[in-house]
Amino acid sequence: MVENRPFLNFLTHLVLILGVATVVFPVYLAFIASTRGPADFMTGVVPLTPGDQTWANYGALLGAGSTEAGAPPFLLMLGNSLIMALLVAFGKIAISILSAFAVVYFRFPGRVIAFWIIFMTLMLPIEVRILPTYKVIADLGMLNSFSGLVIPVIASATATFLFRQFFLTIPEETMEAARVDGAGPLKFFWDILLPLSRTNIAALFIIMFIFGWNQYLWPMLITTEPHYYTVVMGIKRLAAVLDGDTQWNLVMAGVILAALPPVLVIIFMQRLFVKGLVETEK
């Protein structure tokens, strides 16, 4: 693997470039489409160079939305998505780290059962419980609200499980030393567990933010007012036009806008993530 052979170098690069191109090309096409007029992609020949409609397309989409497709301004939807994704990510981390703390560090009746019930819900996809959940949320009058968007997806078995596994790797003596040092359970949690979990929290934040941002089915079901639309739903709205042509240039601009925040989160958080990995020690 450490040989220096020009041909092998060429081959590895070729494979990498092909792989990257396969992934990037559709995204590139989407970007090109978002910079051109509505008719350009209907001609049969797909253009590969940026057009001159960039500001017009994005401006229209962010400001007024698509009146033709009945989609609200994208700025509003981006805001909704951001609120939802942040609430989901922070909520999931807060709830799961606390439940993992309870399951690992406290002896109470039903502890093992509680853990297994949490663990079993890992296997249930959101779609399985979506109708009963809808019924509950509807009966509670939480349709068309942020609490209705966020609360049903805020508990995370995966995150609870990950935190539990991490807590189990912290030597029991650390907890005992803290007890002897006069730290109660909450102080131990705050002073010792939380700082040690930094890396895990950063990693989970990335995953959970993207999970929240990409929620599609659930927001579709419970929001009927455009005021609460999220951006992923918005794309669907743009694309599904009943009469007339779909404005692909706007759809693609919407796609680019929707894809941007998760990418930014990854780029920004990855630095924290690596920093956490380097600095934290168990």
């Binding site: 650390t174 005992e176 030393a177 002073d191 020690e281």
Partner: protein, 366 residues
Amino acid sequence: MASIDVENVGKIYTGGVRAVSDIRLNIADGEFIVLVGPSGCGKSTLLRMIAGLETISEGQVKIGPRVVNDVEPADRDIAMVFQNYALYPHMTVKQNLEYGLKNRRTPKAEIEARVTEAARMLEIGQYLERKPKALSGGQRQRVAMGRAIVRKPAVFLFDEPLSNLDAKLRVSMRGEIKRLQRRLGTTSIYVTHDQLEAMTLADRLVVLNGGRIEQVGSPLDVYHTPASTFVASFIGSPAMNLVKGELHGDKLAIGPSVIDLNGYAPTSGAVTVGLRAEDLRLASEGEEALPFRVDYTEELGAQRLVHGSLGDQSLTIALSAATELSQDMRIVIDPAKLHFFSAETGKRLAGGAIVGAISSAAQPVA
């Protein structure tokens, strides 16, 4: 500073497993007590019950005049040093030292003073801003001890603190722990499975086996008058030789060989005889002696351990490195240095001049 009274303490884990039974132990103020025994003998459990990290199933523990059975570890006025140091990895050395004091709302100036003093005492002053990861094992161990010292507790509890260190460091840290304890005069309980550590550190040794106390006494008492074959084989290195023998009047028969006891026979009939490797020596010409067949030798530099057999029973003797070896040798032992144990119970048999002479402070537990 405080005395500790352990009164009829027992531990039964959920599921009914009994780890410790009926421990009675009075520890004087300032005393250094070492709990020693093989793994699984309950020594750590006992220590953790005194620390408050395990609940006490039976009996009670008193620190000073106060019964602490239901007192949180933090309120027992103890400090503990763990085997894996248990330092907080995300805090600097200084923060590690301060943490317990901060939790007790000690004034800032006081914290500063105590941390500085502990750091000076343990020579970790230049590492105060480092994280534990950047320290060697020995330095981490010092920090762990510093964390105990700054608290100025009534009792130090050590749970095999040197087990993770290399042999050389262990010896020097052993000396340091002893010196610190002398200097601070704090009552200490130290758990170890290493009999050498136990011998060198203890004011009094507590030998545990199967959750019970086998013997309590000063290191030399325990060494010279082990209360049972278990203690005899556990304390001292190399372990005491234990061979089957039979007493006939004033004569001891080991296999086919018979030696004269000069009045040291405590009883008659079958006994287990204990012989320390270093009490055995080569017989001179014409002396009444035991035949010894050499299997192999271990060179220790200053002396050599010769492993072999006496009849069909194996035996180890310690000889000076200058001694000439041959396949078959003849060995003798002063009858006064023989230890006799009951062949059935393994308990030390009274009688023999040596028992009365040395065991004044030993407390064999029935």
